[in-house]
Symmetry: D2
Subunit: 341 residues, 4 copies
């Protein structure tokens, strides 16, 4: 197979940086155009000092022209930007959107949560979901999931699909601050973040909620409600999702259900009984760690999932989907080991 | 009023250190005996370098003799140690136990969660709970609550007492690592903790669960189930509890219920609408910050509470109860402002 | 003595917030006007959620009018702003400038390092320096030192004054990120700061350098060169300064020199031999911890100092100087114990 | 070339874990025996949850027998343990010692700093030092440098070798806490480390000092004194070394000297002028970032170096040396990009 030429739009941000880190280690690709918005014209090294081999590459404007001529284009842009760009990139180009534009299948949901016209949905980039992998093989368009929905969906879909729980789930997910992007907001300053925990988007108003509802309802085969609370914690990367739902029965077979769901998945690890996930173990890796248990007193199934929000939660998933789209082995170029301690 | 002479047993640990920090600033007390277990014979400054005015005080053994002759004795000891000690301190001494021994009223619950003989219960040191303050005034024995139950009980009791929710609550509480004490365990090492999030005691097995059940069932007037998941995060101090329960009705009046519950409480602050608690704002303060909202899609009430686990969660509550026991103004010597950023 | 009415200009920033935290606990003052620049018109609680008792106070514009009518005005403003304001506040008002405008005595130094016209110097707010305290008693104008110069000057002036070392000192000072203020710059975002160490202003170009030179040259009685390297570390507060200089003799008497220099100082603690300063022990306290040793191989005296950059490094020093200016006991309202762990 | 079979002694520690992370990604090796001390008999996953592909591998005792039959043996053991083991491993085995035993060439220095009999020196594993690479090619024994000496030697040897500075250097190096190993000591607990900066081993008593003296004296061709102060900061990994020395002349040509010294080095990056190293950019990478400047006022050359103490500072250097010993391309399997943010 010939080397694929890729472009990254939004190369100065956190998702863009993580994409490039992974792509530099990918044996089947060559890094082509790197584009940005306000940072166009500056060298990448200013924004991504850890990407030493690309330090002197100068960022171009994000336009259809600068992105043309690549086999694969990754879009790491603010939402609302990708539909128009993608339309100008040609049907043969693999376009992988790390933004939200094409994740929701329901136009009304799009309008409620994001507003404006719905750009339509693309194959959803969580191959571990039932049916998702087949839709991703050979596709030319991929909607990469949000980081929270990735963690929550991996944690809960097997239980919902197996009817182990009733469809009213509660998710509290704690996240590192890179999930908020490289935004210059006072509450994201280091001095504010370090030594503090804070909730935000409480009460079902975070935009990742409808994505969880969509994934979990599909798995359950009926409407699922999701009470989602995101929490910001003082670390750069990592999501720990604690998820639970009322037991439909006595919870017997819960572990077996999860073992079976993930037996053949290369990136999802159900830990040995009694061991609980830590985000550090997934740092920089395209892995998810899971553990499941039954709370007999509260009559709930509890599942905990750990991922790196920038890797399995964004850029790693994007590369995993690129592999599927291009017909490469799904695990090509993706790390299984985290950087710890 | 004459100055009260106080002793602290367990002065080398985190709870002991925070007690002394607060007591040094308290206008009505004089710090007497400081005792410890394995650290007896060493100066306090070795263990608590921040307590400069007490740096040269030498720790004595924790015995009835070294603790005798004080008006107030604080016990910050491993569980199972306080009943016997307290029995030898005389009925006139105010004994304030920061451990678990006298928190649970039900002997069977004690046996299930801690094992061994139940030492009986003492007035419970969360004055904000219905009826609790009266039992604490003038008492000679106080059981200081656990840090997680403090956060979860303040977050949820008003809704349960008012019948706003059904009695099946879910609590995910994220905590700094001082909550685990000064224990030399590998998973508490700085290199392990920093940059990581982890869950532990998942599935209803954390010993703070029955304490939440006890408090919330009393408030609700019927049995409450609590699905509790604690999460360890990379900060020294702070608990952020995200709590929710199914709405019993439409959630109308939720904010008013909380406003009323805490209108006269000096240490509990319901934040302005749209503002969410951060633990940094409570650092070193005896305060709790709360916010409440209704998730209409999930039909749940969601409450978030922030405290400092060592202050309002332990040592601040202990001093607050001492004030009540001694007939002092409840707020004497207790900071309302956190140390931020 | 009647209660003094104080105002804080720049109340929404980090220095302003720390001033208010300390002043809320000060028994002789009443908090009057709170002013800001871009944040004028908003409640303080939005910017300083830890200052609960002042949460609803609305910020006014920083003008001579809003600051008029106070006994003491603290200025926590960008440099270049205080001279003109102070001139309009009246000679009877105690004006305490946390900015740089009046620190340097040498107009040429001002021009080189800050540019523009020199506003003249005010009594320098580091009472521990030889002669400084007398100049501060009863003064109506105070220039609060920079945080790095405070740490480095306390660490080195006794050795230079005693002739223990030659006047070529090297200072590497590691700082928490609040030292950079609440500035919306990418390198100060939490995700950038956490998990990283970085140097900046290397090679003698940091503006605190001439202030160190001024203080240390005065102590030595001859010109001192200072090679200063600041390092940013992942914590909100704290400065650890490692300072050294070539021995002039054999280093004998070093400890005694420091003991003598600080014997009567209420806020500077020379630690017991073999114990080294930690910034956590000074968190939120107006203290400095010091240790000194001789490196016989390298023939250098090495001194390490720890302070909280916002307390002894800025706002605590400001209050200490206010006490001197007003004729109050110097330690009034200032904490000696840090908040640890 | 056939696949090399490697063993790691001390696989449960931080250096051992990082070795395995790198070796899992190395195309020319196969991971054989994993041994430990007190952790023998337990699965690796308990100690290194990030090394998912090796999670079920059971640790054996560290003995000559368990280490026999491998092409390469990495020793990550407490000092004093490697000489005897190595003697029993056969002269054909490549033995790479991450401990201190064979770093110092001077028996008297060994006796002074470590005590006991000197085990003799092995080729020193910092290929970037003059002459070092040749001694490492094809060797069967390697002494991997200490992490601080790696940073300081890379920062300073070019200037000393070129005579740009006089031989009295000052080094303050700030480090993450994994440098202290997985030691159960109170001051390494997360709650103590987070939010604090502390110096230790001050005054030339840290055992890495003689290693710096040895490297830099060799480069200078005359005795060099090193005033070394290590500082512990709240991050898991990373060393930022700030280094300086008096100029011998006017400092002209400093940048060119460094450009020339590192022009052909694959892992050492002299950053563009005006850009300063950050440890985050080296996280998990085998790189060093450098910047150099002249402080004309203080008449000193100042150099700042950033490395990951576990990668270029330990395990990455070990693999780099293995590549040289085995005749592989030096960069095989070693990451150039850090994991940031």
């Amino acid at each position: 197979m010939q080397v694929m030429r890729i472009a990254v739009a939004g190369a100065s941000g956190y998702a863009g940086g993580e994409l490039l880190r992974l792509l530099l280690a990918h044996p089947e690709v060559e890094i082509g155009g790197l584009t940005a918005g306000g940072s166009a014209g500056t060298p990448l090294g200013v924004h991504q000092p850890h990407l030493l081999p690309l330090a002197e590459r100068v960022l171009e404007e994000t336009t259809p022209e600068t992105l043309a001529g690549h086999d694969v284009v990754f879009l790491a842009l603010p939402h609302g930007r990708s539909a128009e760009l993608a339309a100008q990139l040609g049907d043969d180009t693999v376009v992988i959107d790390c933004g939200a534009d094409h994740r929701l299948t329901d136009a009304a949901a799009w309008d409620r949560w994001y507003g404006g016209e719905h750009a339509g949905s693309w194959p959803y980039g969580l191959p571990e979901l039932p049916g998702a992998r087949d839709a991703l093989r050979g596709t030319r368009r991929v909607a990469v999931p949000g980081c929270y929905p990735t963690a929550a969906s991996l944690a809960l879909f097997p239980a919902l699909a197996a009817g182990l729980v009733t469809p009213d789930v509660v998710v509290t997910a704690v996240s590192g601050t890179s999930g908020a992007g490289k935004s210059l907001k006072p509450h994201l300053l280091g001095a504010e973040v370090m030594g503090s925990l804070s909730a935000y988007g409480v009460g079902g108003v975070h935009r990742h909620t409808p994505e969880m509802v969509q994934n979990l309802s599909a798995a359950a085969g009926r409407p699922v409600t999701v009470s989602f609370t995101p929490v910001l914690a003082p670390l750069p990367r990592g999501i720990l999702a604690t998820c639970s739902a009322p037991l439909a029965g006595d919870g017997a077979g819960a572990r077996e259900t999860y073992e079976k769901a993930y037996a053949d998945e290369p990136f999802v690890f159900l830990l040995p009984e009694g061991t609980w996930p830590t985000t550090a173990a997934t740092l920089g890796a395209n892995t998810a760690q899971l553990q499941v248990t039954v709370d007999a007193d509260a009559q709930r199934l509890v599942v905990v999932a750990a991922i790196d929000n920038l890797t399995k939660g964004t850029a790693g998933a994007a590369v995993q989907c690129m592999n599927l789209a291009l017909g490469l082995p799904e695990t090509t170029g993706l790390p299984l080991t985290g950087v710890a301690p």
